[in-house]
Symmetry: C3
Subunit: 162 residues, 3 copies
Amino acid sequence: MNLPANKKKISIVCFSGDFDKMVAAFTIASGAAATNREVTLFFTFWGLNALKKNKGRAATGNSFMAKAFNFLMGGLNNLPLSRLNFFGASPKLMTMMMKKHNVATLPELVEAAHALGVRIVACEMAMRILEVEQSDMIEEVEDVVGVATFLNDSEDAHIIFI
Amino acid sequence: MNLPANKKKISIVCFSGDFDKMVAAFTIASGAAATNREVTLFFTFWGLNALKKNKGRAATGNSFMAKAFNFLMGGLNNLPLSRLNFFGASPKLMTMMMKKHNVATLPELVEAAHALGVRIVACEMAMRILEVEQSDMIEEVEDVVGVATFLNDSEDAHIIFI
Amino acid sequence: MNLPANKKKISIVCFSGDFDKMVAAFTIASGAAATNREVTLFFTFWGLNALKKNKGRAATGNSFMAKAFNFLMGGLNNLPLSRLNFFGASPKLMTMMMKKHNVATLPELVEAAHALGVRIVACEMAMRILEVEQSDMIEEVEDVVGVATFLNDSEDAHIIFI
């Protein structure tokens, strides 16, 4: 007799804050959740930018260095393409191309993933280094967790690093 | 009694079209197939370039934006190195270094993977956004599949994102 | 009756030599080892730089091309950030930010991983292409292995590509 607890799990480490890679992460997450898998997105380093409440550039943090990094990294509306970025023009063009072909845009994907029950958590260590607080982040962030906790929760999960 | 259906599976999402990462993806794929695993390579976004029939730069697509992107991304012979690319000189140098040390080059790796039974499929959504048709791609592409189908096929597979 | 051999395994392909991604790889590796998993780090391509004994830039190799590549790639003290690198200034700033917040620095992470029993191996093919010898690498490198051996050893492991 199989227990219902045997649900397949996928954990995605969202390390890169690249626009295109975030589209990929959320597409995989939503697809997996829609096919009845338990999905956790763990945002760390550059990935944290995709979760900032302030979707544009903002000097978050206390120290000068943290402020400078956070400003330069930007927010959800400033994520660069991993290639051919052209100083930020390409993500906007890419969004136009996605809309034209009726593909969900990045903010729509974030919303869909959350609605489908994808768990969104932020990395405690990266938040500490970059001086980002939970209050700086969107409401969809369920929890702030350490690496050890994330790894424990992902013991039976496939781990994907994006 | 174990059924022979229990063959180990590996699915590789080939997202990046970087020369060096494609070498890594095909090397892992061939190695895994040679050791009796079922391997699927799912090409999406920049990865699509490695599958274009026209191995050089070509303005594939209908809209101006798709044409521009496809031209700039190039084909199998124009994949950049993920670092120290020097405007395309480095992948050529790297190929020379691979030949010198009798390591299979990228086109040889593609051929070997196909011969070893590695399944090569292309992402439907990325093809739609970038206006790439199956007829634009090499014959080794077995199928065009959606993300949901890919995830279903990969239910028992280890998923690697490259 | 569960045999003790059933220890969970994680294999990380350290392909990228980016400073931030190496911090991520070693953090995940140490975290997993500390929670009783068997972890192997397989260093290949740019990742090899993190293992060089000479932590700065050095023209390792025999041929002119290998020397040039190895010099440009640098060593553990010259790993670039994957974004906002600013010609090498940012990894130094990031290290300062890590120290300030009592987060282990990269050399400390390498040491901790080794102490926790993480297996560190180098890719035979990449060493051949880039003309790097085992004697060029730090003592913590346990073995030089081929891709096939690595894949065999990782048969029951989750494979993460960083």
